[in-house]
Amino acid sequence: MVLSVERRKRATAEGGLDALYRAHAADALRLGYLLTGDRSLAEDLVQDAFVRVLGRFHDLRNRDAFWWYLRRTIVNLSTSHFRRRGVERAWLARQLPDQAAPAPHDLGERDRLREALMKLRPEQRAAVVLRFYEDLSEADTAEALGIPLGTVKSTVSRGLERLRNELPEEE
């Protein structure tokens, strides 16, 4: 395969990389935050994901494909982070009381959601976030997580059930 001049210019030009980062950084950081519940961790994780994808990604003509790779990398890094270290409970106990300073009018609900999300297993949390924040279909969620469709359905279902318990509807 011979890269065209235009393609190489796009792929390797300073502006190309910079534009990719600027186009996706905000979404990536917010996704990372929902998956980790921690701003610093989200920043580190997203930076690592960008570094990995920019370092390997070679089909820059397709910006949607870039986000697909980036999102999958963010999810994988977050689940790996919690699974590998096995410190999720300890981390929650230590971090949750000091979390964000939300706006006064919705302080309680945000806190409860964040806490509820962090009580989910990393895979459950990722599945729920991809389905209801990224608005992916179950099939796309399965592809993004690299797991069977049936597993996505059961994982999301159990995750939602747990969130309902943690976030009861307010009358």
Binding site: V5, R8, E14, L17, D18, L29, L34, Q47, L113, L160
Partner: protein, 437 residues
């Protein structure tokens, strides 16, 4: 619940502060750095070896080509593996005998360059030949752009110009005559701006690296003269602090005042991401002739004896000197008809003096009444000490005489008063004097 959860998630996500402007430089820098550090490890991307037409190539006559001072490349254009016509002829002879088949193709030679000088794995060197070879040119020439499969598409290709400098055609040996950054509009990894020998033995190299690689750790410069980086004529590692570089290389002398500079950007596993190969000027090494017995113009029988004496004395073989003399006719320091061997055995340093004397030219043969025709070393016995040349003074110094000693000889008015050695016309060694007459 689904809608409420969506709204809550989006609301929660807004807690994440987003400072794209602040984080972009750091992240992009790390991303580029990672590309350098992991370049040898990873992604298989099919690209590479592209033949570019000769007309695009920008080595020789493009005004934007870096100013590279040095000897006239017309003398021998090859930079690698051979750097002179004799070496090329030897390689061609080996190829004619069936050796080194890769050297008979441009892509094979380019692959050898990548594996030998850039440290690439042979399996990673990929190519696609789409251009034309110069079969209709006076010298077959081709320009190739090679790249490493494992590096990925971010790493620019390296452009190599090759020519058949001797035999052309299917059996002719190809030589690398230039390696540079790709011709525009391809991005350049290493751009040379100046390569100048600022003073003899110091080559100043400046340039810049691509802005794609500001995370790259270093450049390496190697000056060599031949197929391998060793023996090195000079090398340096330049830690990149920004996109520019400038380094001074200590370069050893070469016989022809010319060497090859290879500039590389090695990754974490030692494979170079880019390469530039140019000719550089070096100091000219004047080959001092190895000291030997001086028998030019000397009769054959005399020369044979002189060589024998020189070899035996040089080896410290006192007994070996015996075969060249007859004790009944030999004179050692005017002691006619005596055996000098016992005295030389007691003081073998005399043999060093014989060697020094024989390393100077001989005087013209002369007839010695009652003895025959002698050839006498050194030629200084005939020198005019009132008009000594620099050469003669240097030769006197080689025998251990100081300027003061020389002045004494001049003042004495008797000419050369140093050691001398005589062999007659039959090849018989007749005398050795350690002092003057």
């Amino acid at each position: 619940m689904d809608t409420r959860l969506r709204n809550l998630l989006h609301d929660l996500a807004t807690e994440m502060p987003v400072d794209v402007e602040g984080s972009a430089p750091r992240t992009l820098r790390k991303a580029r750095g990672r590309r350098i550090l992991t370049a040898g490890a990873g992604v298989v991307v099919a690209v590479a070896f592209v033949v570019v037409s000769v007309s695009l190539f920008r080595f020789a006559d493009d005004p934007t080509t870096p100013a590279v001072s040095g000897p006239n490349l017309a003398t021998f254009a090859g930079l690698w593996p051979e750097t002179d016509a004799q070496a090329l002829a030897e390689t061609q002879a080996a190829v004619d005998e069936g050796h080194m088949p890769l050297r008979t193709t441009a892509d094979g030679t380019a692959s050898l360059f990548a594996t030998n000088l850039l440290g690439w794995e042979a399996a990673d060197v990929s190519w696609q030949a789409t251009g034309t070879t110069g079969s209709d040119l006076p010298r077959a020439a081709v320009v190739l752009a090679i790249s490493n499969r494992s590096f990925g598409a971010f790493v620019p290709r390296i452009t190599i110009e090759l020519r058949q400098l001797g035999v052309t055609g299917p059996n002719g040996v190809w030589s690398v005559v230039g390696v540079s950054d790709p011709p525009l509009p391809y991005p350049a990894l290493i751009e040379l701006e100046e390569v100048t020998q600022v003073v003899p033995g110091i080559v100043h190299v400046t340039g810049r690296v691509s802005d794609l690689y500001d995370g790259a750790p270093a450049l390496e410069a190697h000056v060599f003269d031949g197929a391998t980086l060793e023996p090195s004529l000079g090398s340096a590692r330049y830690e990149l602090a920004d996109r520019t570089f400038g380094l001074d290389l200590d370069v050893s002398a070469t016989p022809d005042g010319r060497a090859t500079l290879l500039l590389t950007m090695p990754d974490a596993v030692g494979q170079s991401l880019g390469g530039v190969l140019v000719s550089v000027e070096t100091p000219v090494r004047v080959e001092e002739p190895q000291p030997t017995v001086r028998v030019e113009g000397v009769p054959p029988e005399v020369a044979a004896t002189a060589r024998g004496i020189y070899d035996a004395a040089g080896a410290g073989d006192v007994e070996g000197l015996r075969e060249f003399l007859d004790p009944n006719t030999f004179a050692y320091n005017f002691d006619d008809g005596s055996d000098p061997i016992p005295a030389w055995r007691q003081d073998p340093s005399v043999l060093d003096l014989m060697v020094a004397v024989l390393e100077l030219p001989a005087a013209a043969p002369r007839a010695i009444e009652g003895y025959g025709t002698f050839t006498i070393w050194p030629y200084l016995i005939d020198s005019d000490f009132d008009a000594l040349t620099e050469r003669e003074r240097a030769d006197l110094a080689s025998l251990g005489y100081t300027e003061g000693d020389i002045q004494l000889m001049i003042d004495g008015g008797h000419g050369y008063q140093g050691p001398r050695l005589a062999i007659d016309e039959t090849g018989l060694w007749r005398n050795f004097m350690t002092v003057g007459e």
